[in-house]
Amino acid sequence: MQTKDEILEQIKASLTELFELDPARITLAARLNEDLEIDSIDAVDLLDGLRRQTGRKISAEDFRSVRTVGDLVEAIYRLVQA
């Protein structure tokens, strides 16, 4: 079972690889859209990447309320718990 820290590391890895972001900018409080400039098109690529990594069926519905990196960690944590 993954801890939230492990999930955060995984997200950091995805974000740096996909978006060439500086890992230092990826904090729990960072807002995906405003701070990291990840828009709804990027979100599709991000979720596809997470689907491949976790091997889970992640539906976009589970992420409608995600605003920050922290929200994303929580959403994935809930999914892997389920």
């Binding site: 978006f19 060439e20 709804s40 098109i41 990027d42 979100a43 690529d45 979720l47 976009a60």
Partner: protein, 263 residues
């Protein structure tokens, strides 16, 4: 300047064309489509048949608009449209651009405004033909990628909505993203209309002073090799910027700030 008579004829004929379009949509969606359901073949065959019907109906509609002198047009290079896995991108100056492009492409799939799935005149047809709604974003992208992978050709308008007259061109990035993910071939179509018929914010009866002339020109395929190895977010940004500059240069207009997702 043409005679007043001719001008009023064009207003009248435009109204007739509008009604004809709505009526045609209703007849195809409500009457013809249920009949095609009774013919043999699975969902894929049925959809292909419907797309073929839509294409022929729109080809006829284009001929009628030309015949009643509402517009005139020329279409160059249509033989290069309709290849498997081909993404066709066009600029969108007027209301009926998609009508021409679908009319001249063998049975394409098409990304259309979500509102067409609610409009009673178009709803039946866009559903039966398996067209893709432009919203929500994730479903649009997955639907478009699946269509291209299955060998469909797909028509998209990266502006998302008609060009705002006098404003610089803007492309939403969804089209570029779909291209880098799934297009085997990316082909531009440059659309010009002079004077503009039915641009944004103009009601149908405000017809231009002269009969509008449309020119559709199918451009050379765009080489996607440079974008293939990059992470998709970067590749789609680069391709979107390139496409915007390319279309702006071809059309001789200003290319503005590229909107992100078009939300």
């Amino acid at each position: 300047m043409e005679k007043r008579q001719t001008y009023f004829w064009r207003i009248f004929a435009s109204g007739v064309c509008f009604s004809l379009f709505g009526l045609g949509g209703l007849i195809l969606g409500v009457l013809v489509f249920p009949v095609t359901l009774l013919l043999p073949g699975g969902p894929t065959r049925r959809r292909a048949r419907m797309r073929g019907l839509v294409q022929r109906a729109l080809r006829l509609f284009v001929r009628v608009m030309n015949g009643v002198r509402v517009i005139s047009y020329e279409f160059h290079g249509s033989e290069r449209l309709g290849r498997p896995g081909q993404l066709i991108v066009a600029n969108h100056p007027t209301l009926v651009d998609v009508v021409f492009i679908v009319a001249f492409t063998p049975a394409p799939c098409c990304v259309v405004k979500a509102a067409l799935f609610r409009n009673p005149f178009t709803r039946g047809v866009v559903r039966a033909a398996g067209y893709i709604s432009n919203s929500p974003t994730d479903e649009m992208i997955h639907g478009a990628v699946a269509a291209l992978h299955s060998g469909d050709s797909l028509v998209m308008f990266p502006e998302g909505t008609r060009t705002r007259p006098g404003q610089p061109l803007q492309f939403a990035r969804g089209t570029a993203s779909i291209a880098v993910h799934a297009a085997d071939v990316l082909t531009p179509v440059y659309v010009r209309c002079e004077p503009l018929l039915l641009p944004k914010f103009v009601p149908w009866y405000r017809v231009p002073p002269r009969r509008p002339h449309y020119t559709f020109e199918v451009g050379d395929d765009i080489d996607l090799a440079a974008y293939r190895g990059l992470p998709p977010p970067k590749a789609s940004r680069l391709l979107n910027d390139w496409l915007l500059r390319h279309f702006a240069a071809r059309l001789g207009v200003a290319g503005g700030y590229n909107g992100g997702s078009g939300d």
